[in-house]
Amino acid sequence: MKLERTLALKNLRRKPARTAALVLLSAFLALSVFGGSVVVASLRNGLKSYEARLGADIVAVPYQARTKGTFESILLQGIPGMFYMDEQYYNKICTIEGVEAAAPQFYLASTSAGCCSVPVQIIGFDPEKDFTVQPWIRESFALSLGDGDIIVGSELTVPKDGILTFYDTPCRIVAQLGKTGTGLDTAVYTNMATIKTMMRNAESLGFHYLTDTDPDHAVSSVMIRVANGYDVEAVTGDINVHVRHVEASAAAAMLSSVAGGLKSVSGVIGILVAAIWVLAVVILAIAFAMISHERAKEFAVLRCLGASRRMLCRLLLTEAAFAAFCGAVLGVAAGALIVFPFGNAISTALELPYLMPSALPAAALALGSLLLSALAGALSAAVSAWRVSRSDAGLLLREG
């Protein structure tokens, strides 16, 4: 085995151009397999966390917010939105049969000049009634939010002094949330009292977001939990029929549109990666066939010197495995240099929840990609190795 190894290494070293071509091809294969699998895994994680963070069975928003897709933009892309309805609609929703809990939320977007060149979504919730935001907040902040306290999403940089000012309202950052891969990562959470203070300060600064409703009696959305034994679809229908100007959607339906997007992106990536894998195996197989044909005489000489058929087989496979493995390591490294630093860019481009795998699953994906690429190398060399070991050295040497 030692002989095959040294001989294989020397053969690779003495033919740098050929070796480089094999390594590059295998690197490209590993890169696509690894990159593709990380993106698909991130999308799957994203969908799961989106489902977890939505946390409600039904979401009700003012009619205009639903039709313009504003609400989904907040959730998926973190594009701030503002839409309001009178509190009376919230009260009406609470009376619908099957509604077990209903939590109002109030949305505000910061002015762009405030801290960044783009506005930040501020979400106010009622600590008494809320059941969607607080379980999540409790993962990183155990106390209850006081007035003037805010909690920021994972994708916001916390300033050194821990203070963010929105509409002349200085707020103390008390915690930062875990990453969800959704638009909520760039949002700021606070209680109703604080957000209403901001709203009033905005009015006095000349921003009139609400023209026909009193800010103190307005809500932006209502998160609804359906009581046991009631059909979510039916309750959604009831709300849409009985509460005018409000559009209720079942969370499952919202999720399924995201899941559809995920499915098509994953499908495209899957087909692409499979095609590249097959193509690489074919190209590598042709390359190895050409190489072994060109080296037929060399193999015959080795036979003369006493190499068994099995030795020749192992020699060719070792060479292929070395080249494929080096290429795969390079490819995975290059893939890591693309998918991890550019994760945010990919997520922005896909407009889907995107949550990158943590270190351990990522390492598993890297290992899997390494194996799959090395397997492709071995598989493509196997046919040639078999043919070389079957060929008759005596006949080859006679020819020339």
Partner: protein, 226 residues
């Protein structure tokens, strides 16, 4: 050590009008005793190389048997036969047969690395000195002339002290001086007790050989002393 072929034939199939079977070698019985240089001549296509490859355990005869010290070569498995070739047969194949990824010295040491009965580096250098190319030990085969490559092949075939040396046209396309060097090297091996078979076109070879055979259309004919 004795290499003996008993009524061996090699039949090939080919797509031709009439008979589609032809014999490259037919019913050859040959013994190569230790300490002699046996010369085998014949036109190209007469079956010389086929016979040599069958004797070397590289090509299975369609009929007949080959014995090395009484052991039937083709009754062995490929692995044992390969090992036997490695340890007891020195084969010098036709043409230029150096491995280009290895240096001259590494080429000579290669047979010794296959089954762990290593040929020491000193012996490798010594062999290269014997064939007169010791100064090239760290060069790569691409830098060697045709004559030097043949001498390398002889040194390599002798690396594991085989009992039998099978040389297929070792002087083909060499100039007179190199031809003489190579032939005297083979002669010296025979004098040292090896059984040597020399397949050649070279007229000059007759002077070095003890016994003379000629192949004609697959048949082996013994020739009297010139």
């Amino acid at each position: 050590m004795i290499l003996r072929a008993e009524k061996i034939s090699r039949r090939f199939f080919r797509q031709r009008k009439g008979s589609n079977v032809f014999y490259a070698v037919k019913d050859v019985t040959l013994e190569i005793p230790a300490g002699t240089l046996t010369e085998l001549t014949g036109r190209s296509g007469s079956g010389k190389s086929t016979l040599l490859n069958m004797l070397a355990g590289l090509l299975e005869p369609t009929e007949g048997k080959v014995y090395l010290d009484g052991e039937d070569l083709y009754a062995l498995s490929d692995i044992s036969r390969s090992r036997m070739r490695n340890e007891r047969l020195g084969v010098i194949p036709q043409g230029q047969t150096a491995l280009h990824a290895l240096t001259v010295l590494e080429n000579v040491l290669l047979p010794g690395q296959m089954y762990g009965n290593a040929c020491s580096e000193e012996r490798g250098v010594q062999l290269l000195e014997q064939v007169g190319i010791a100064q090239l030990q760290n060069a790569y085969p691409g830098e060697l002339s045709g004559g030097e490559l043949r001498r390398l092949a002889i040194a390599r075939a002798l690396a594991l002290c085989p009992g039998v040396l099978l040389a297929d046209e070792p002087t083909g396309d060499l100039d007179d001086e190199n031809t003489r060097t190579v032939l005297s090297l083979l002669r010296r091996s025979a004098d040292e007790g090896l059984a040597v078979l020399l397949v050649t076109h070279e007229r000059e070879a007759a002077r070095f050989a003890d016994r003379h055979y000629r192949m004609d259309s697959g048949m082996l004919l013994e020739e009297k002393e010139h």
